[in-house]
């Protein structure tokens, strides 16, 4: 188990390094003067020279890359001060440390992602199981039909509709806002409820369909049929045989969907006007603030890798073949 974890973690480090290198060289090797980019549309040559020196843009690219990478491991010094260990550089636009800006915004995105994940797993897998259990009945048809339609909705369309119904029309809820969990868990929960619900609805619909079809496939397996033929109770066969078997493909798909989950959180941020790392990336992108966008992207990749390792651990827990291999 420990070996498995170490192998996965070292793999993640390699991938992070490669993504960092790739992003860095793609960003910094295009025929553009970054001091100019950082400076905006109207700026004087003096400004450009200062920026160039401050950002170390006068050095060769490989040196810059080395400094950037070392900054992540051991920190860097800038004219603004010392940038502590996971240093992702300094924003062109605001002059803040990128890592600090990200840490400022990330709790929101994390709340959205994890909360959404919990909700849609509970509801999605639950309704999927229900539909598979009641296969062919009215319940199944309603659940399948509704999930088919709902999975074709988009967060940015469903979001305003829900807002309109629950906030503007009835006034049952306040406009969603983010209160840090550590400040007040109650208002944190209430403030995130609508974003979670909207984000989870679309994913729930997809997971309902998937859980249903996986379960139905599993129920047709021979060992399940044998268990039934032996006279085991329907419920026991359903949960102990078929459900156990369908967990493996489901967890695989969760692992593949992690990137989509982060994307979903980003869209949700925009829909409800919340300031998370997605908005940070767009701000960086629109002001051509390359260190900021690059930092957010690296951080996003890191986040997904970590979640992936968690999923892999779950995988190892569920499937002995993985654990023992």
């Amino acid at each position: 188990m420990l070996q498995f974890l170490i192998r996965r973690l070292s793999g993640a480090v390699v991938i992070m390094f490669l993504i960092g290198a790739f992003t860095f060289f793609l960003f910094y090797s295009i025929p553009q003067d970054f001091a100019q980019l950082a400076c905006g549309k109207n700026c004087s040559p003096e400004n450009i020279a200062v920026i160039r020196e401050n950002l170390g843009l006068d050095k060769p690219i490989t040196t810059q890359f080395w400094e950037f990478m070392m900054g992540i491991v051991s920190g860097r010094d800038f004219p603004q001060g010392h940038c502590a260990a996971p240093c992702l550089g300094v924003s062109f636009d605001s002059g803040d440390f990128v890592w600090d800006s990200i840490m400022d915004r990330f709790p929101l995105t994390l709340s959205l992602t994890v909360g959404g994940l919990v909700i849609f797993l509970l509801f999605g897998l639950g309704t999927g199981l229900l539909a598979a259990w009641k296969r062919g009945t009215a319940v199944d048809k309603i659940v399948s039909g509704a999930s088919m339609v709902l999975s074709s909705f988009q967060i940015y369309f469903l979001g305003p509709i829900v807002l309109g119904l629950l906030v503007y029309q009835t006034g049952w809820f306040e406009n969603p806002k983010y209160v840090p969990f550590t400040d007040n868990p109650g208002s944190w929960f209430v403030g995130m409820l609508i974003p979670w619900a909207v984000m989870a609805t679309i994913f729930t619909a997809q997971y309902t369909r998937m859980a249903r079809s996986t379960m139905i496939e599993q129920l047709q397996e021979e060992h399940v049929r044998t268990a039934r033929a032996k006279g085991m109770r329907q419920r026991y066969v359903f949960f102990r045989y078929a459900w156990r078997g369908s967990l493996i493909p489901i967890v695989t798909i969760i692992g593949m969907d992690l990137s989509a989950l982060l994307s979903g959180a980003v869209v949700t941020e925009f829909t409800f006007d919340l300031a998370g790392i997605g908005r940070l990336a767009v701000e960086g992108s629109l002001t051509k603030d390359l260190p900021l966008t690059m930092g957010v992207m690296l951080f996003g990749a890191f986040f997904i890798l970590i979640l992936n390792i968690v999923v892999d651990l779950a995988y190892a827990y569920i499937d002995p073949r993985v654990r023992l291999a």
């Binding site: 399948s144 909705f153 990137s259 767009v282 629109l286």
Partner: protein
């Protein structure tokens, strides 16, 4: 074309069913004889009512998008004119710059209402927006499918080291957070073509969007094709072709490719709506197409901004997108079922 179930010389049986042969899909079944898998598929597909309806809806959307200029010239408006400033429509917007009348200013003149603040016509905005999105999505999907198929074929057919390294490359690209990557690389790719001091022309934006999305669009297809090729590579008919001295190029083209058209087609059907949604997302967050290029995704951004005052604005773009994605997903399911009747829904 050789498939495991049918030898090449089974010609004359085509005469038995002339009308079926003439209706066969021309794309993947040229010079068909007998009841090819393609014909069987078409036969099953015709009987699937959901599939036929969703196919009709999808075709309708593409037709509308392709005919957008014709439709809007018949309709007599365009997506660029600010009709609130035209003397013919004096009371289009009220004092708060919101459309007068109920439901976002829907009327005989403006079927889907009027855009708040600027007073543009929603119907033509939607038509042209769909046109932009669909064209872009088709290109992105086409490029991604081609790349994925080529890389997957190489990986699966040659195996060994090539396969290993291509697999690692695929894993590497899969590790990117997709939407963040799109957001982050839009300015970079744009900056490759045009100095940041200048205004970016629309076609360059389009090229940038296609490049960025193509870059992260091919991995799923490559994996799928690789695994299908791997399982076909060891089959007898491929071995027979090898023994009879066929070149790798011929084996890949004539023996393997015809047998993996099905999964490619199904996967492609699922990829197109997701490309549309990604393009819409880019415009929605403001890094895709900018004003005044009509765009589906940006209509949601406009609509979200004024939703409290004018919820009707978002209705038609939203419903159209839901119907389109739904139809495409159902179509994908039907195509899959038609090719492979064993997988029930």
């Amino acid at each position: 074309m050789t498939s495991p179930t049918k030898a090449e010389g089974s010609g004359p049986s085509a005469a038995l069913e002339p009308e079926l042969a003439s209706k066969a899909e021309p794309a993947e079944v040229e010079k068909l004889e007998g009841r090819s898998p393609g014909q069987l598929m078409w036969h099953r597909f015709k009987r699937d009512r959901t599939g036929m309806i969703s196919a009709a809806v999808v075709i309708f959307f593409f037709a509308v998008a392709a005919l957008a200029p014709v439709i809007s010239s018949l309709y007599g408006k365009n997506p660029y004119t600010l009709y609130a400033q035209e003397p013919e429509y004096p009371f289009l917007l009220d004092d708060f710059a919101m459309p007068t009348g109920s439901l976002g200013g829907m009327s005989g003149d403006f079927w889907f209402g009027v855009e708040p603040k600027l007073g543009r016509d929603v119907f033509t905005m939607l038509l042209y927006g769909m046109r932009t999105s669909l064209y872009m999505a088709v290109l992105v999907t086409l490029f991604s499918v081609l790349t994925g198929v080529v890389l997957g074929m190489i990986s699966g057919y040659f195996g060994g080291k090539v396969d290993y390294w291509l697999g690692r490359v695929t894993d590497f690209f899969l590790a990117f957070p997709q939407q963040l990557f799109f957001i982050a690389f839009m300015p970079v790719v744009t900056a490759m073509f045009v100095s940041p001091k200048d205004e970016t022309p629309t076609y360059l934006r389009a090229v940038a969007i296609i490049l960025v999305m193509w870059f992260l669009g091919w991995m799923g297809m490559a994996r799928l094709v690789r695994s299908s090729v791997l399982s076909l590579r060891e089959r007898e008919f491929v071995e027979a072709a090898k023994v009879s001295g066929a070149s790798p190029a011929r084996i890949v083209r004539k023996e393997i490719l015809p047998n993996i058209v099905t999964p490619i087609l199904v996967q492609g059907t699922y990829m197109l709506p997701s490309s549309i949604l990604s393009i819409a997302f880019l415009s929605y967050v403001g890094v895709g197409f900018t004003e005044p290029t009509p765009d589906w995704g940006r209509m949601f951004a406009i609509g979200a901004g004024i939703y409290e005052q004018d919820p009707a604005f978002m209705f038609f773009p939203g419903i159209a997108l839901v119907i389109f994605v739904l139809a495409f997903n159902l179509l994908g399911d039907s195509v899959r079922d038609a090719f492979d009747p064993k997988t029930g829904r």
